[in-house]
């Protein structure tokens, strides 16, 4: 019973981190139809900036998160203008895959040059660094914090996309860019804003989840496939799908690691194949 509880709790926290990082990628892939393998690299940039601000600069945890998000978005926006714009809607997905892999390699090289290859930690404030007694059992407070962040972001995004005028424009652009533009939606601006939002969320996830997914220059490559898998399983562009997929795959992965550690990620990928076979368009397909 005890072990089941700890698996469930760890799986929930891991799934939430996956969700926070992947939801940006999912929205971006739904909107711009771009397979962005550099998404993990942006998460890593957020994490590194946060670790620098919280560590050597000593500004504290919350400013570190804010700086991480803003910094990553500032780095990513010129890249969107210069590189991504040229491959939006490319009919051959390989072009996008290769360009974003190239970008990931460059970011890994640059990160190693600036910060070295050692692992980085983000010092936690006292409030969320200790254990918390939930009555049933004690759990690390940081995990609770991560889960809370995931819930807040899921509901915030739902509100943003379903209830605000920005959300209406965003959905219109996703469904038919040309028609939305003809009706006066500034689709250009929507693209840029969505890109910034996606990168910001990735950076936030990278910084918040650094305890669970440790930061080093190969972070971008190590989790690249996992993020892509979550988005594909959930269905690109769907918030609910990304949430279900992140929690489900987080659960499968964590359970596999607890119960059969020497099988590695065998069960994770077995589950992926099964899910893609049964739901070839993702668990919850947007607008279907």
């Amino acid at each position: 019973m005890n072990i089941l509880l700890s698996i469930a709790f760890d799986a929930l926290a891991y799934g939430m981190v996956l969700f926070i990082i992947c939801i940006g990628l999912s929205v971006m892939m739904g909107l711009m139809r771009v397979i962005n393998l550099a998404h993990g690299a942006f998460a890593m940039i957020g994490g590194y900036i946060a670790s620098y601000v919280a560590g050597p600069m000593g500004w504290g945890y919350v400013p570190a998160l804010v700086c991480g998000v803003i910094g990553a978005a500032l780095i990513a926006l010129p890249l969107e203008r210069l590189l991504y714009r040229r491959v939006y809607g490319a009919s051959d997905p390989l072009v996008q895959v290769l360009m974003t892999i190239g970008l990931t390699f460059c970011i890994i090289g640059a990160t190693n040059f600036l910060f070295g290859s050692a692992m980085r930690a983000i010092p936690l404030p006292a409030l969320i660094s200790g254990p918390v007694d939930l009555g049933v059992r004690t759990v690390p407070a940081h995990r609770l914090f991560v889960i809370a962040c995931g819930v807040v972001i899921a509901s915030g995004l739902w509100y943003l996309i379903e209830r605000t005028s920005f959300g209406i424009r965003l959905r219109a652009t996703v469904d038919n860019t040309g028609m939305a533009g003809a009706l006066g939606v500034r689709t250009d601006w929507i693209y840029t804003a969505t890109f910034a939002l996606a990168v910001g969320l990735a950076a936030f996830g990278g910084a918040v989840g650094a305890e669970i997914m440790p930061l080093d220059p190969y972070y971008a490559l190590r989790y690249m496939v996992t993020f892509l898998v979550v988005v594909s399983v959930g269905g690109a562009g769907s918030i609910g799908g990304a949430l279900v997929a992140a929690l489900l795959l987080g659960f499968v992965d964590t359970t596999g690691r607890y119960l059969a550690p020497n099988y590695g990620e065998f069960f994770f990928y077995l589950a992926v194949i099964a899910i893609v076979f049964v739901f070839p368009h993702g668990l919850l397909r947007r607008g279907a």
Binding site: S91, D92, T104, F105, V231, F266, Y269, V276
Partner: protein, 336 residues
């Protein structure tokens, strides 16, 4: 529909051109043979490295068959290569020592792995297909890691010592036999594959890549032909795997890794997909660069490859291999 980047809209039809000039088919293999011989004479100390390049070239050519000619997006091609490498390695450890038989066995294993992979990944398209291919290669990796008794797990499979080729040529310390064997196999494969991609079957596969609906409308079958091409690709990838097992004497887990699949795709796109020569150019440039830059600092190497990739995708969508065609087109215009 807009022309696909990476493929000029008005590309010359290879099938028609070759029929007029009979000797043309043999130009490329001859060039490869001459370059190979020159490399053998000029750098006798680097033959092991050149053999590695040839193995990479074979593997990338097999990837080109499915990516460049059929439009299948895969990041899991190392399954085919690894099947060949492990098949040859395991047979050799268990007593079969004829190197050509071992390589043939690798090729057969590649076909089997290709058929199994095709069953899984050809079910989907686009992103799900990419994800399925990744999942397949990760499963194969974990399986090879777990089957430690047969494959050696993460320690790798070692102790592969094949006998002499044709019972005459021993594998020597300088890798001369290995290099010549690899070069001959590369040229033979190139000749065969050029014929295949120009055959009606090869052209049909190109058609499937460009417009599956139209092919279906004129009565072509999609799935069956793609599976066939996948099996052929598996034969070449398995050959490359078997060759590496025979020439290096070890098979590591990295031969069924996602990284090796991704590297092959990078080489293919660097050189240019859908021409077979592009695969050769990409393998030579990538492996050569890697050899020299990565020796200095692996992270610098990553940065250089990344920048090269972005540059090629944005500025030279048909790959480095298209540079030659581009130069050739410039020349007559410059001459009076």
């Amino acid at each position: 529909m807009a022309p696909i980047p990476g493929r000029p809209a008005a590309s010359p039809r290879p099938g028609c051109r070759s029929r007029g000039v009979p000797g043309r088919e043999l130009v490329a293999p001859t060039v490869v043979a001459i370059l190979g011989a020159l490399a053998y004479l000029a750098f006798p100390d680097d033959l092991a490295f050149f053999t590695r390049i040839i193995v990479a070239a074979l593997f990338v050519m097999s990837l080109d068959l499915v990516v460049g000619y059929c439009g299948v997006a895969t990041l899991g091609h190392a399954v085919l290569y690894g099947a060949g490498a492990y098949a040859a390695g395991i047979l050799c450890v268990n007593g079969l020592t004829d190197p050509l038989l071992l390589i043939a066995a690798g090729s057969v294993a590649g076909v089997v792995a290709g058929l199994v992979t095709a069953l899984v990944i050809l079910r989907a398209h686009g992103l799900p297909q990419l994800v399925l291919s990744i999942a397949v290669v990760q499963l194969a990796y974990e399986a090879a890691n777990k089957a430690r008794d047969i494959t050696g797990g993460s320690d790798g499979l070692s102790g592969i010592s094949p006998g002499p080729v044709f019972g005459l040529f021993e594998f020597d310390l300088w890798g001369r036999t290995a290099y010549v064997l690899a070069l001959v196999l590369l040229i033979a494969t190139l000749v065969v594959l050029r014929r295949v991609v120009r055959s009606p079957f090869g052209l049909l596969c190109r058609g499937i890549k460009q417009d599956p609906d139209r092919i279906r409308a004129i009565g072509g079958t999609i799935y069956g032909n793609l599976v066939k091409m996948y099996a052929l690709s598996g034969a070449v990838a398995g050959l490359a795997g078997g060759l590496t097992a025979v020439t290096t004497g070890v098979v590591g887990l990295d031969s069924v890794s996602f990284e090796w699949s991704a590297e092959a795709l990078v080489m293919l796109v660097l050189g240019g997909a859908g021409t077979l020569y592009g695969a050769l150019v990409g393998a030579v440039v990538f492996t050569g660069f890697e050899h020299y830059v990565a020796a200095v600092d692996p992270y610098h190497w990553l940065f250089v490859v990344g920048a090269l990739l972005i540059g090629v995708v944005l500025a030279l969508p048909a790959g480095l291999g298209s540079l030659a065609a581009w130069l050739r087109r410039l020349l007559p215009q410059g001459a009076p």
